[in-house]
């Protein structure tokens, strides 16, 4: 299904997104600790500030709680190792999620090589009871169907959607995280949204 009128999304952050283009990095205190040689203090601050969002990103990208826990830890272990070399070309948060994206993709490849395609969080996937004709989908059913439909997308597209909306990154920051051009990522996201809509409506039998 091709979108009838693809919408070019404005490059706006959402939720609690941090604007990487601003002159002051919200994590400048982490940079200060690194400059003073206090890597442990810097890591503690990173974990306190970004631990939960990194976990949620890993959890939704991998759909496996145990794997997400492991990958989350790997992210911060790698961050600790790489902190001395942090060049400040991007914000700390952007840099951290670049590590997270790599670790997630590595985990996906390892899982595929191991032949394990069972995603633990979906083990109890129960077909959604269809609403009556004409009934619109409520937010709960929408959320459930969204999780299922995200699984059908390629990993890189799913990750782009999570970075854009769940984490609120601008396309410029996503370009740093994903090592892709902002326009490419914007096109991926723009194409994915109508596909998700079609999948959700097909799955639930309702209308958004």
């Amino acid at each position: 299904m091709t979108p009838a009128n693809p919408k070019l999304l404005p490059d706006r952050p959402s939720g609690d997104a941090r604007d990487a283009s601003s002159s002051t990095d919200p994590d400048s205190d982490v940079v200060g600790l690194v400059a003073n040689g206090d890597m442990t203090g810097a890591l503690r601050l990173l974990m306190a500030r970004h631990g939960t969002t990194v976990y949620r990103y890993c959890r939704e990208a991998l759909r496996d709680a145990t794997l997400a826990d492991d990958v989350q830890q790997q992210v911060f272990i790698a961050a600790f190792r790489d902190l001395p070399g942090f060049s400040q070309r991007a914000s700390v948060r952007t840099w951290l999620f670049a590590i997270a994206r790599h670790r997630v993709l590595d985990a996906v490849k390892a899982r595929r090589r191991a032949g394990s395609h069972i995603e633990e969080d979906d083990a109890m996937d129960v077909p959604d009871p269809r609403p009556s004709a004409g009934e619109s989908i409520d937010d709960v059913r929408l959320g459930q169907a969204l999780v299922d439909c995200l699984r059908k997308l390629r990993e890189k597209v799913r990750i782009a959607l999570l970075l854009r909306f769940q984490q609120g990154f601008s396309f410029e920051d996503m370009a740093v995280v994903c090592q892709e051009k902002p326009g490419t990522l914007q096109a991926q996201v723009t194409r994915a949204l109508p596909i998700l809509r079609a999948c959700i409506e097909l799955r639930t039998g309702g209308a958004l």
Binding site: Q72, L146, R164, L193
Partner: protein, 192 residues
């Protein structure tokens, strides 16, 4: 009526909001970092005198005994000694990076343990650690670690009941051990 695409975007924004990382994950990160550091080979710094001395032995074993003066009625003591691997001698006998520390707990109850922390993160725990790091015999348990720069805490524990293994973070580990009835003794060691 909200645009369907905007509803999907909003749902994506909320995705995973109910999830929280498992408790204690930060301590596990620090524990793994400590393990990785300990697995790294010690840097080898060739010095001119290493070529002058015949290749029978190049390490000078000078033992500086530092005994912690908190003897318990039951003879529970913590002793920390060092094998020196550097020609640099610091005032007060403080060890250097590269030296090997041996922390030995003696006496006390039927159960003993030695835990070594660096910058509040667990480096090794005996019993339970690597065979090359732990040694137990009769009334003694010894933990051994090659020192790198940082602030170490050598902790000895004894108890009448089995001592639960540490999770990896100094303050919470010691609090938990004391709550379970263990007696502790500790000595800080600064390595520069």
């Amino acid at each position: 009526m909200t645009d369907p695409i905007e509803r999907i975007e909003a749902a994506l924004t909320r995705l995973g909001a109910e999830h929280e990382p498992p408790a204690g994950w930060e301590a596990r990160v620090f524990a793994k970092i400590a393990q990785e550091r300990h697995a790294e080979p010690a840097p080898r710094r060739p010095r001119w005198w290493m070529f002058a001395i015949p290749a029978v032995s190049v390490s000078v074993a000078v033992v500086a005994a530092i005994v912690v003066c908190w003897p318990r009625p039951d003879g529970f003591t913590l002793a920390v000694t060092f094998d020196r691997h550097s020609e640099v001698v610091r005032s007060g006998g403080a060890p250097n990076a590269g030296d090997v520390a041996h922390a030995t707990v003696t006496g006390g109850g039927p159960h003993r343990a030695v835990w070594i922390y660096r910058d509040d993160v667990l480096v090794t725990a005996c019993p339970g650690g690597d065979r090359t790091q732990c040694e137990s015999s009769g009334e003694e348990t010894t933990a051994t670690v090659r020192l790198t720069m940082g602030k170490y805490q050598m902790v000895a524990l004894t108890s009448s009941v089995p001592i639960a293994p540490p999770a990896g973070e100094l303050d919470s580990d010691l609090a938990r051990a004391q709550d379970a009835g263990a007696t502790l003794d500790r000595k800080p060691v600064m390595v520069r």
